[in-house]
């Protein structure tokens, strides 16, 4: 991934959270992860990416820590014990972030499509990303909670 594409992704995440009135949004560094990455004690939401770039976007979070974020999305209070509603809220957050990413990449001349979110609450999940794609992880922290954003994308040559 080009650095401007990674920046477009991070800007999209920060802007989405900011528009939801989540203050003090911090992107806590970027790290490259192995193509098969194990998430422990996390629920995940994944969104497929297609078109000018191919791969996936994943939000990984702990149920308890995501309750406030999910509440901000739902515009109502969600109990930290309500795993289902928290996951649904995080899925909608992932959808908003992915859509913002699509808008930002469009401005850079890259047209992508996104799938509807898929939720997984398997407590010990392996994430197998594209073997030839670079996978980066960014912890994102805000006043309403935190989650990890994983991005695995590769350019898709025109005509494929």
């Amino acid at each position: 991934m080009k650095i401007e594409h990674i920046q477009a992704v991070l800007d999209a995440a920060a802007r989405t959270l900011g528009e939801m009135e989540c203050s003090d949004v911090q992107l806590d560094g970027i790290q490259v992860v192995d193509e098969s990455f194990r998430m422990a004690d996390s629920s995940i939401v994944s969104i497929g990416v297609n078109g000018g770039m191919v791969g996936s976007l994943v939000l990984a979070f702990s149920i308890r820590d995501a309750a406030s974020l999910a509440s901000a999305v739902a515009q109502t209070t969600i109990s930290p014990d309500d795993a289902e509603d928290i996951c649904e809220g995080m899925a909608e957050l992932a959808n908003m972030i992915a859509s913002n990413i699509a808008s930002n990449l469009y401005g850079l001349g890259v047209k992508i499509g996104i799938t509807t979110p898929t939720i997984s609450t398997d407590p010990d999940v392996d994430l197998d990303f594209l073997g030839d794609a670079q996978t980066v992880l960014t912890p994102i922290v805000s006043s309403r909670g935190h989650f990890d954003l994983l991005l695995s994308l590769r350019d898709e040559p025109a005509g494929q």
Binding site: T16, E88, E92, N95, S99, P117
Partner: protein
């Protein structure tokens, strides 16, 4: 009389959030649809004053749903509510008959502005400005 709205979104949380937003503005939610097929059926049954419509949905996309509703009722007022903000997408929706386009997450004043444009002569807007935005 309150404006009657049909909410269409495959996300339960999004349906709930959009419902709350429009209810705060005095609208009556007459139906909630999780996909395009359900949306068309509910539209035929409930004949709402307007529809809010997500774009990225499984099985039947928002654009396909918009076309189906407008084919049934060319006068249907459909407000697209989506996180996608590309000009190309907005233009495509407007050309397909969308009355307005709101980008999620949206601010209340933008929703009020959209409703005023869609229903300029509705009695809701004859009240003073403070009442119109729920103040």
């Amino acid at each position: 009389m309150a404006l009657r709205v049909l909410i269409v979104d495959d996300s339960r949380v999004a349906r709930s959030a959009v419902s709350r937003t429009f209810q705060k503005l005095g609208c009556e939610v007459v139906g909630l649809a999780a996909d395009g097929g359900e949306a068309v059926e509910l539209y035929k049954k409930m004949r709402p004053d307007f529809v809010t419509l997500d774009l990225v949905m499984p099985k039947m996309s928002g654009q396909e749903t918009l076309k189906a509703i407008r084919d049934f009722d060319p006068a249907a007022v459909v407000i697209v509510v989506s996180s996608l903000a590309m000009k190309e997408v907005v233009v495509e929706c407007v050309r397909a008959g969308a009355a307005n386009y709101l980008v999620k997450p949206f601010q209340e004043e933008k929703v009020v502005s959209a409703l005023r444009k869609c229903f300029p002569s509705h009695s809701r807007w004859q009240e003073n400005e403070e009442d119109a935005i729920g103040g």
